[in-house]
Amino acid sequence: MIKFYKKARKAFCGLKPHFFLFGPIFLMFVLCSATSLGQQGGITVSGTVKGTNNETLPGVSVSLKGTTTGTTTDVKGVFTLKVPNSQGSLVFSYLGYTTLEMPISGRKMLSVTLKEEQKNLNEVVVIGYGTVKKRDLTGSVASFKGDDLTQVPAANVMESLQGKVPGADITRSSGQAGAGVSITLRGNRSILGSNSPLYIVDGVIYYGNIADIDQNEIASVDVLKDASSTAIYGSRGANGVIIITTKRGAAGKTEVDANSYNGVSQASMYPKVATGPEMVALRREAYRASGKWTSPANDNLVFSPYELTAIANGLYTNWQDLVLHRGSQEDHQVGVSSGSEKTKMYTSLDYYRENGLFKNDNLTRYSGRINLDHTVSDKLKIGMQAQIVYSSQNVRTDPLNQANKINPIGEAFNPDGSIVMYPTQASAINPLADEQPGVWADNVKGNRTFAAAYAELTPIKGLSIRSNLSANLTNSRTGIYAGSFTITRNGGVPRANYNTSNGTDLLWENIVNYHKQIGQHTFDLTGIASYQDRSNESGSMQGDNQLLSSQLFYNLSAATQGVAVATGYTKQDIVSGAGRINYSYQGKYLLTLTGRSDGSSKLAEGHKWTFFPSAAAAWRLSEEDFIKKIKPINDLKLRASYGVAGNDPYDAYATQSLLTNVPFSYGETPAQGYTFNPTIGNRDLAWERSTTLDIGVDFALLNSRISGTVDVYSTHTNDLLLPRGLPPSDGILKTNQNIGQTANKGIELSISSVNIKSSNFSWNTSVTFTKNVEKITSLVNAGVNDIGNGWFVGYPVQVFYDYQKIGIWQTSEAAEAAKYGQIPGTIKVKDQNGDGKIDATNDRTVLGTPRPKWSGGLSNTVKYKNLDFSIYIYARIGQMINANSLNFSDNQGLQGNTWASNLDYWTPENPTNAYPRPNSNGGMQYVSTLAYTDGSYARIRDISLGYTLPQKLTGNVFKRLRVYVSGKNLFTWSKLKNYDPERGGSENFPMTKLALAGINATF
């Protein structure tokens, strides 16, 4: 996959002069051929193009240098071209081969041999604290540049890589404005520690929202997966490392890039709830089941007078329609790259705006970046990169939760157009309540300053000493005002909150690199010393019942009750030293040895330090003579690595036993209390360690038309940081201990193929496949499950553990049902141990897991002349979700509406096995078993069509101007016909599909 992208991109890059410059001219030439042909005199040149193995090459692009004149070779590799005279040169270009320029020099017959290109293998891949050529890579690294990153415009660069990184499970968390993505690489290892990969931005550890870095500013993303690649990051590399490199300036003419898109979004798939008439039928059935309704004559016992009037007049409300709207998304970015031989600069400004599907659910973000590099002398280089981000997000309490539960019988609005605060005379507040002017505000303002400066000294050849100092300063303010009649306050007194958070994240790293070649032996030595200090201060204020709603959260002194304040502080430090040796013999045998020592403030005395070693070796078989003989093989490399990475607890102070405050009073006199925190500190807390074995193959076949990578790996995590439940009889509930083990095994595959390649038409396909099996192998007591926490040996960290529904008790089974205390129409669950009764201990079982069995992507890119088209399909198969929409929680039919529309529920006349019979007496058991379902899906993640305007039209203004339209998530295949399974079960903040149009311009 990686190879393919590199190759494909290289091919495009190689083609660019033809395609983007000559292409339009060529087009013009075609258009004008009727006239131009007749005017041309000149000569005809012909010939045959062959490869180094004497095979003929069809489809080779042949053009006269500096002109629009060109052709391609036929199936026998033969070309014929008319040229004005015998001066000038012909340019031969062909995918996977080095472009050749040959002077005509008066000849009419040319014999041309093209050499296979190895350039992509010399491309540079970013690894921790350095770079290597792709050919010398020993670890498992997926690398993305250019089109890979920007083809799918997204709020978050990782979203545009969904399905493209083998081994990565990337899902968007919701459809809320500014919602993040969740990423795990090669499954989940840790329970208490983090499972998120480490982000490195321009060499600096980055904590925070990666969406703050605009995708257009990014030059490359490299994903490090195996232990050898990540070991240089020691403790923080256990979950993989994602290295983001932003664009930097280049010497030469100033280049300006402008990128802009606008799009509209709507809920991708969303379940309808029962309509008014459906609700009426269901309620009647619920009361029929309990013996209180036999015919509409009893309706007055079942429905309130208000409802009876509404039913009589057909007054129903579709609440979803009232709260769900169209959203929008737009991004506008300008980047300027410039520089002289000594000073290079890249700067970028970005504006991003997203409106969610609800009113007042939106995000606005402005960011600016400047990257500067300056060569002071041939021995000293200095530079800096700085990013400033300001964002403002308006948060909405998801109104769908309310809209999906509220009674559809009745009306939402009064005759004067105002909303009915409590529709249907009931107690559920109107889902539109928060949209009323002045009652609701929840605004999050965030600022981030992320700046790093470096100085790099090269005192002698091959030696560089670099010092990086970086600061990631964040501050955010969340202000909330909730008036009396809002969803959260529901008639209570108004409440205002004001919360602030200030984070200071400092990192100082010193890196020494030494490169030395002795004969055929090449050494690269790296030494690192690193100190990181992260601290955070926070403040929270809360007050109730202020007089003026117009003051929002700006005058908490106006609160007349419930005033509460809190401040907090956390600090965590890591000190590290690391070293690495890269050794290569003849470029054929490669070896990497890495070691890192990490000390963490978050661990107990005596357990703070640990050492993470790793080793990796690679053998470039294609350099061996016996492989060189095999013509179809262009590149073949075997890799193996073994190493240890680690994890410390996510939160600070897990070793300390602390007190927690309790409000109390005697009479009305306040009496502050302090009691023990339910979690007791562990004075022996130590590192969690993950050992990974990775074996991989990189290959390129058939003139590098097919290339790919396969990795198999096995990770064992020991001394798991486990939030262990203690016997509550201690008076304490939990501690954090190094107990238990997890294992992740998997296979990753990426293959890309160049199906068709000619000067006018190209078609590339790439496939990725990921399968990871995640298992807990041991817990507190070997072989014993921790049911309380939902952890089961032999299963992934997250599972669904419940009774197993096997149907609905039918009328004919009444006697059997009675043995279980059930009646016909109720849920029948499996008696797992067959003891004739259903109990929580013996009859619940692991039903499934939200982890997919496999996931994969299939992408196709077609270019025809100036048109480009791509379609990308992503599939995530085998995961279970707990879909709220399938639930039946208010099974009494009393008032709420939690049923799906068109629900197949049991009645004596409809003996279904799908849903139980509603019953107004309640007491229904096992309702939770209804909602577990297969969440597999495949979707067209992205489909794009672009057109690059001919130079003729854009003239001297643009170097390149492309317009495109794109659709995201437009089609989804799933067993759930009306729910987007990527959302994972929740009905809040539905996933969106997005249609957008954009422009890329280079000046």
Partner: protein, 549 residues
């Protein structure tokens, strides 16, 4: 080459040394607080004592507490909203029950804090007198919590030491050991507590003695039980409220009949609702929730809408027919003083024909109203026949007679779940009935009747005192239990009363037809919380209570 290597290694060492000083790796946590820092000053130790009281709020006035102390008895059954029908009707009752889990956790957390305080009080820096009082309070609280534990679960884990490190085992200790400690602690408390306090909610000498009388009665120490109860009656200065209904007025919370109460505040920020700032480990609902639990669903009825006075209907529990039958409402003011039977129209939008605002809109009745009579009424009637089947099982568990003792019309808004109503844990009427039961057990039926009649005289409607009197011949254990039901219905004591008198299974089978088919002899203790069973490492010793899975 060699020189270069030296150079590199030297540089590396310098940079490593420059950054890796040991001090940077110590945990710095200025905002945190430890037991050593807080509990070693008088002001700090006060916070421990305050917190030790606060755990009572997890049981008293909470749904979990009602389900464990009143439900599963002869006088209540599940209404439509019951969250714990397993506790109420013994259907599939297991250690996974949420109320069992929560109370197991909180009661042991309370015991641990009491143990901590009792063992550390010498380092608090108190003057001697304060030290004795605070120790007596903590020992009362420990006894109080251990009583809830031992009666609910039987001979389970017992300790008097503070948990300072990770302990993964638990013990099974005989019930006698619990009671030995309970008596030790309470006798110390009674001997050392002041007779009054200006801090409403703190335990006093007579509160401790009143609780001690309950303990003596529980253990069959009848003479001691009687003595303790009589001592409280004579010396405590408590007075029965003249009107039973007045006990439940929000304006009369701190009345003279209350011996011991769990305090809730009208300042909601002093209550126990979970809140990220105020109380990160608080209760999900907070405050006194008694007003929510028993209310029937009136707000969908013609002419009615939900308002503060009528309350927020959670509709969790309803009375058994047996409870309703216990009252002779013609003479006994406790029926009207305990139950709500009429709702008055408050919603113009849905007024039925012929009914004005303020007119009766809904009636519930323990009697069967003839259909002909019903037909003449414009308001809705839910009577005995519509609520209960002939065999006494529930027919309509949504609309029925509701307990009104805990209603709170002073809540600031209609959906507010927190009530500032204090929970009466012990009131003077219990002392009379405790003493009466002890006297009866000692064979003194005359004294027993005299004491019972004190309570019944107060309960009598004006002019019906004579009809309310009972004779010594009428006194027996069942009568005492019936009387306690009439007096204390809903007051979080019923399950303990039935268990104490060994009548739980018998009475549930006889009087609660919804639960009768399910109750078993092993139900006299509740299942141990499953997370306890899952977490202990000595599983062969620490097992689930018999009968439970």
């Amino acid at each position: 080459m060699k020189k270069n290597f030296k150079y590199i290694i030297g540089m590396g060492l310098v940079t490593i040394m420059a950054t890796s000083c040991k001090k940077t790796l110590t945990e710095y946590n200025p905002g945190g607080s430890t037991a050593e820092a807080v509990y070693t000053t008088p002001a700090g130790f006060e916070t421990l004592v305050n917190a030790a009281y606060s755990y009572q709020r997890w049981w008293y006035g909470k749904e979990e507490g009602y389900s464990l102390s009143e439900m599963g008895t002869d006088i209540w059954t599940s209404a439509s909203g019951d969250v714990y029908p397993d506790l109420n009707k013994y259907i599939n009752l297991q250690g996974s029950d949420g109320a069992v889990k929560q109370m197991w956790q909180q009661l042991y957390a309370a015991v641990n804090l009491c143990n901590t305080g009792i063992n550390r009080i010498g380092n608090a820096g108190y003057p001697a007198a304060t030290r004795t009082t605070r120790e007596a309070e903590l020992r009362f609280l420990r006894a109080f919590y251990y009583w809830h534990i031992v009666e609910t679960w039987g001979g389970v884990h017992f300790t008097t030491t503070e948990t300072t490190s990770i302990i993964t085992t638990a013990n099974k200790t005989p019930v006698e050991t619990f009671y030995k400690q309970i008596f030790d602690d309470l006798q110390f408390a009674v001997a050392n507590l002041p007779t009054t306090t200006s801090d409403y909610g703190r335990v006093t000498k007579y509160a401790a003695e009143a609780f001690l009388s309950r303990m003596y009665l529980t253990r069959g120490m009848n003479q001691q039980a009687s003595n303790a109860a009589m001592d409280v009656i004579k010396k405590g200065g408590y007075v029965l409220q003249p009107n039973y209904a007045d006990l439940w007025l929000m304006s009369n919370l701190q009345n003279k009949e209350v011996i011991y109460a769990v305090n809730y505040s009208a300042n909601l920020s002093l209550d126990d609702l979970k809140d990220n700032i105020l109380y990160p480990f608080g209760h999900a609902r907070g405050g006194n929730n008694g007003h929510l639990e028993f209310i029937m669903k009136y707000d969908d009825q013609p002419g009615m809408l939900r308002d503060i006075a009528n309350g927020r209907p959670f509709n969790r529990y309803m009375p058994t027919l047996f409870l309703l039958n216990l009252y002779n409402e013609a003479d006994d003011a406790r029926y009207d003083g305990s139950f709500k039977n009429a709702w008055f129209a408050n919603n113009t939008a849905t007024l039925p024909a012929g009914i004005k605002l303020g007119d009766t809109a809904v009636i519930t009745s323990k009697l069967t109203i003839p259909t002909a009579t019903k037909a003449t009424k414009k308001y809705r009637i839910y009577d005995r026949a519509s609520c209960y089947k002939a065999d006494g099982t529930t027919l309509d568990n949504i609309h029925c007679v509701q307990l009104s003792k805990f209603m709170d019309p002073t809540r600031p808004d209609v959906n507010q779940q927190i009530s500032a109503r204090d929970v009466f844990v012990i009131r003077l009427a219990e002392m009379y009935l405790n003493a009466a039961e002890a006297q009866m057990n000692l064979g003194h039926l005359d004294s027993a009747a005299t004491l019972v009649n004190v309570v019944r005289t107060r309960a009598a409607k004006p002019g019906h005192t004579v009809q309310m009197q009972v004779t010594p011949a009428q006194i027996n254990l069942d009568f005492i239990l019936d009387e306690r039901a009439r007096e204390f219905a809903g007051e979080q004591i019923r399950w303990f009363d039935l268990k104490r008198t060994n009548k739980l299974v018998e009475r549930v089978k006889a009087d609660n037809p919804d639960a009768a088919p399910n109750i078993q002899s092993y139900h006299t203790v509740r299942p141990i919380s499953q997370d306890q069973i899952d977490a202990v490492t000595n599983r062969n010793e620490f097992k689930q209570n018999p009968g439970y899975q």
